[in-house]
Symmetry: C2
């Protein structure tokens, strides 16, 4: 993997760049739609390609490991072959789902013992195992195995957890270096900065992670319930330490406003279930604010979903029709909202990139943030 | 509406024709995808147009009347404007759902009193009211209000019910003739033959319906649980009486085999929830037979869903991937299967039409029927 930094904004730390992988290039800043089980929820693959214009999608290691399972993915020739997505894929380490989904789990220095949320079967994730799993999945970008601390998290726990995360990182790197890609294309490994909301821990972690010289670096453990200002403060601190010539990935973030604010702090990659999950609940993000389409006020609004939207669905369907789909509990409602929201997120980062290249990002961001946050 | 009979098969009663409506032409025989609440379930409108190549879709009067309601549909300018489908639409009379869905209903000579299955509110459908509702929906083809008798149904009930259906038909026709379309394009009314599985009642009904000189005629009360042979026998009898120069619509039918057998008996129009409903349960219809994609045997079959299929999904996704979507309970599974099945149904009637035009329908049908019925 290669990262080319093209422009740095002069009034913020925003940057425009290009990540080059064996599955193609990614223009940064970029939003990566989440494809939990190997497919973006409720969206046809052709729409992920052609309508949403995604450049990279994310797969969840925990989910893919349990279903369809590594045997099937390896037989298929990797996740790209299995799901038909021929552009870059990033996989998380599975850690987050182990903590949030599995019924029982036991954290030790060695790794995590857990039970499947599907059938209760017992499994163990260790740093080495998680590297092996991501080799089999065949992600272009693999993530280190870490502990994502919750919020709030007391200082002592955060410090102890960080120690484990760093030790696990060294084991991840060693095992990654001692193994080869299975499918003939390169894979890369991003380490993850943790440290909860504590400045000294975040600083320590960012310095430790930076010292590893990875091709890209991630910031984890944020957007887990802490106030947005705290998230920005931590992101700011970490971005000031992580190397400038490598992409920075802020995991699990966030709202359109979160994304613009974090781009301004120097983040290049984002992922979040919000556009699809909230979409399935009737929340639409637009450049003029947020629509709850289930609201009575849209029942006879026959204007397009988003007259300025870039997606097919924005012009094809009216607000009144989409509201009707949600009220009647038709799957099509969630399908439409998912395509709309993902198209909007991809538009947002593309436009941010344009503004960075034009030297107008800071002003544009200040104009957009209040618009994006308002309720329509 | 106009019907042009183009070719009659010499070895069966199959016909190829064209129905001309103000929203465009329909090549018969045709299958009409069901759009219960105004949209085909789990399928984007662009795919109904471009991938499935539907020529006409069906809306359910009962559902649309309750949600979004007539006020919204009228404000939108009719269902075509509301849902963005600019080709022909047929609506049923709502009777079938009143009997099958609503909690309590009371049938009188005047009409049916029923409670909404959604909120328990009280409503009345009469022949006149149902004509008014379909005027507001703006269907190109409206259906007469009838009682769809269940199976089994004793002779006395069937006879009495038929009397009511015929009286209601006269009231429908009178009210239809005394009212005008609301949106500036023509609408037409199909009467419905009933009579359960009794030859004399079916004959009486077909003769009565034929005497009305409608622009198209429907056969109702079949495919409600009776053996297929009985359905064919009734269809055969009724088709021999209904005028040859008008399209014949066999309501709620059926499997691919049912459709080919009924085309051979002289039917021109079909609708059924089977391709979408069974699709959402993992059943795929193909020209080589029926696939239960949830079956273990497909878990590592990385061949396309249907190598000979005409739809985008047939080539984009593999059987193993589609099975994974169903096992992981992803909406995308039902979405893929719905598009596949509808594309297949539309291919089937298009191919049947080609064979009729080529004079080879009977042989082709005999070759296809055993293939279509087998389990893969």
């Amino acid at each position: 993997m290669e990262f080319q930094l093209i422009t740095k904004d002069t009034k913020s730390r925003a940057r425009a760049g290009i990540i080059k992988t064996d599955h193609g290039e990614i223009e940064t800043p970029i939003f990566m739609p989440v494809g939990t089980a190997g497919a973006v929820k409720a969206v046809h693959m052709k729409d992920v390609y052609d309508d949403i214009n995604a450049q990279i999608i994310l797969g969840n290691t925990y989910h893919l490991y349990l279903r369809p399972g590594l045997d099937i993915i390896e037989k298929a020739g990797g996740l790209h072959k299995f799901n038909g997505w021929n552009k870059p894929i990033l996989t998380d380490s599975g850690g987050y789902q182990v903590y949030s989904l599995s019924g029982t789990r036991k954290l030790t220095e060695d790794g995590v013992l857990f039970r499947s949320h599907i059938d209760g079967s017992k499994h163990q994730f260790t740093p080495e195992r998680v590297m092996d799993i991501q080799r089999v999945i065949g992600a272009d970008i693999m993530m280190a195995f870490d502990e994502c601390t919750p919020y709030p998290c007391d200082y002592d726990y955060a410090k102890k957890s960080l120690g484990i995360t760093h030790k696990w990182l060294d084991r991840c790197i060693e095992h990654f270096n001692n193994t080869d890609p299975i499918y003939g294309y390169q894979q890369t490994l991003y380490p993850i900065v943790q440290g909860s909301v504590y400045n000294d821990l975040r600083k320590e972690s960012a310095e430790y992670i930076a010292s590893k010289g990875a091709e890209g670096n991630a910031i984890g453990g944020l957007s887990v319930g802490e106030p947005a200002e705290m998230m920005y403060e931590m992101t700011d601190l970490v971005c000031s330490i992580l190397p400038e010539d490598k992409p920075r990935y802020l995991m699990g973030v966030g709202t359109p406003v979160n994304i613009l604010e974090s781009i301004a702090l120097g983040v290049d990659q984002f992922d979040c279930v919000m556009p699809t999950r909230n979409g399935r609940n009737g929340m639409l993000f637009t450049k003029n604010g947020i629509i709850n389409i289930k609201n009575e006020k849209w029942k006879d609004d026959f204007s397009p979903i988003d007259p300025e939207g870039t997606s097919y669905v924005d012009q094809q369907y009216t607000k009144a029709f989409l509201r009707h789909m949600f009220v009647a509990r038709e799957m099509l409602g969630g399908m439409i909202a998912s395509v709309h929201n993902l198209s909007f997120y991809l538009w947002l980062v593309k436009e941010a990139r344009k503004q960075i290249l034009a030297g107008t990002f800071a002003e544009w961001k200040d104009m957009m943030v209040p618009r994006l946050a308002q309720r329509l």
